[in-house]
Amino acid sequence: MQILKLIAQRIALGILLLFAVSVLIFAGTEILPGDVAASILGQSATPQALENLRRELGLNEPAIVRYFTWLGGLLTGDLGTALSNRMDIATSIWPRLKNTLFLAFWAAVVSVPLALILGMLAVRYRNGWIDKTISGFALASTSLPEFFIGYVLIFFFAVKLNWFPSFSTVHEAMSFGDRMKAIALPATALTLVVLAHMMRMTRAAILNVMQSAYIETAELKGLSQFDIIRRHAFPNAIAPIVNVVMLNLAFLVVGVVVIEVIFVYPGMGQYLVDHVTKRDVPVVQAVGLIFAAVYITLNMIADIAAIVSNPRLRHPR
């Protein structure tokens, strides 16, 4: 029962955080110095146009009233209307959200097991050449901008070798195979972006466990290597590893923004960037909040996994 209470507390905290974040995102676009309407229309706007836009955005009402109107809409699934094309935001977001999740899902399916295996290999052959190669690769790839990885992939695999399309256009009528072929390059790029980080954290998590005193005790009392890993190392390493995986999934969801722009993939990231350029505030608020919500949820799952797998966290210190 104690554990259920802790999990409930963590979920309540997550929901509270989500509300605080919605305030922050709203405040970030509304209460900044300067007039939102003026910055959307640019300096050449006529006073009449400014006034119209202000009325449409409800800028004549106090910020707090507008916030609750916006929040109420969000909670009932109404994300508002885009300024730039008068479309309902929720209906434009839905197919894009599916595309983004499709891409992120396949990138995760490849990157998570790969990172765990490489991380364990690095620990098994610690300080050997495998470990050093993996660490060197990790150092290099955390310094590489996403678009470097993306364009190198396009340049060699799409343009020079012509194996994959260079623009990852997907649409409803596409078959699953065509879809997979279209996302092959962006998913690879995304995998490379998160792989190094995840691998390094897995390595650190396992090393941390392997170096603790109880492992040494288990060795000294003559347990076999297999038993040590099964009975002592693995249960203690689960929490940090699940944590690593969740944090990186969160990172992956964010990394998607730049990758989608590189590969012209019709997802949430592309949608967000397009509308930031058009200064379409309602869309930016809605998409920003969705990204933040996914990020917070994944972090919350990481915490809950840690609570479930590690009895020590269930008791307050």
Binding site: L32, F155, G288
Partner: protein, 274 residues
């Protein structure tokens, strides 16, 4: 501290390239063969004797653009890092020393800020702010100061309970003295190694923003912006966009190598405990 013999090979490589990029950034107008916006040849000419790196999407010399781009990239990233460091460190130290409601309030607020991915919040804020260099520096610096705050608060909280700080407090020194004369000198070495990492982060963040078209605006261009300008060429097999992208990677890796070396040195000075 900086004995030449102790510099490792990787640190030498890092130092060399960092120095090279800095040199380009500082002396750009003197070493660039052409002006930064000067159209000197055809569109996307290949590398040649005349244009070492070829020309870009408007027929400007890519090498000169790269050299001027180094200037903007390094300047904005350095300014944002300086801002995030001074702000984050001062607030973090103050929170650790003053404690109480100030600490709780600041820390919860920073937690809240960090629960939104930096790039996403940056995009949200930039959707209403004018795209000027000043805004960029402020947004990048403020968002990144959260990480510096966390680190410096943790470091300062450790130092704050040491005997010499206690002694200074009993002596009746004010908070300003404690922060700048007692804690700052002792917190410097972990912060310095963090400096390199934050600078790399700023470079990558700026490049990503400019690549998305929300950072430095044309006709000025940093390296991320140059990738954006030349990206259409990739499909035709013209690698012009890969050059600025590679330069960003090279700068990030070399600063990383230097930061790694500084970190190893400072931790070996403390008996390897870091």
């Amino acid at each position: 501290m900086f004995d030449i013999k102790t510099i490792t090979v990787s640190a030498w490589i890092g130092l060399f390239f960092t120095a090279l990029f800095l040199f380009c950034a500082i002396f750009a107008p003197w070493i660039a063969p052409y002006g930064k916006a000067e159209i000197v040849g055809g569109v996307w000419e290949p590398m040649s004797e005349q244009f070492w790196l070829g020309t870009d999407n408007l027929g400007r010399d890519l090498l000169s653009r790269m050299i001027y781009g180094a200037r903007i990239t390094v300047f904005i990233a350095a300014a944002a890092t300086a801002l995030s460091f001074s702000l984050g460190a001062i607030l973090g130290f103050t929170a650790a020393v003053v404690g109480g409601w100030f600490d709780t309030l600041m820390s919860r607020f920073i937690d809240l800020l960090m629960s939104i991915p930096t790039l996403i919040f940056g995009l949200v804020v930039l959707s209403v702010l004018p795209s000027t260099i000043i805004t960029l520096i402020l947004v990048m610096g403020l968002l990144d100061s959260t990480r510096v705050y966390r680190l410096s608060r943790a470091v300062a909280a450790d130092i704050n309970v040491m005997d010499f700080v206690e002694a200074a407090k009993l002596r009746g020194e004010g908070n300003a003295w404690i922060i700048f004369r007692e804690i700052l000198p002792n917190a410097l070495s972990p912060l310095v190694s963090e400096l390199g990492l934050r600078f790399i982060y700023a470079v990558l963040f700026l490049s990503a923003l400019s690549f998305l078209g929300l950072g430095v605006q044309p006709p000025e261009a940093d390296w991320g912006g140059m990738v954006k300008e030349n990206k259409e060429g990739i499909v035709f097999g013209i690698p012009a966009a890969l050059i600025p992208a590679g330069a960003i990677a090279a700068l990030a890796i070399s600063v990383n190598l230097v930061a790694d070396w500084v970190l190893n040195r400072t931790s070996s000075l403390k008996g390897g405990r870091g």
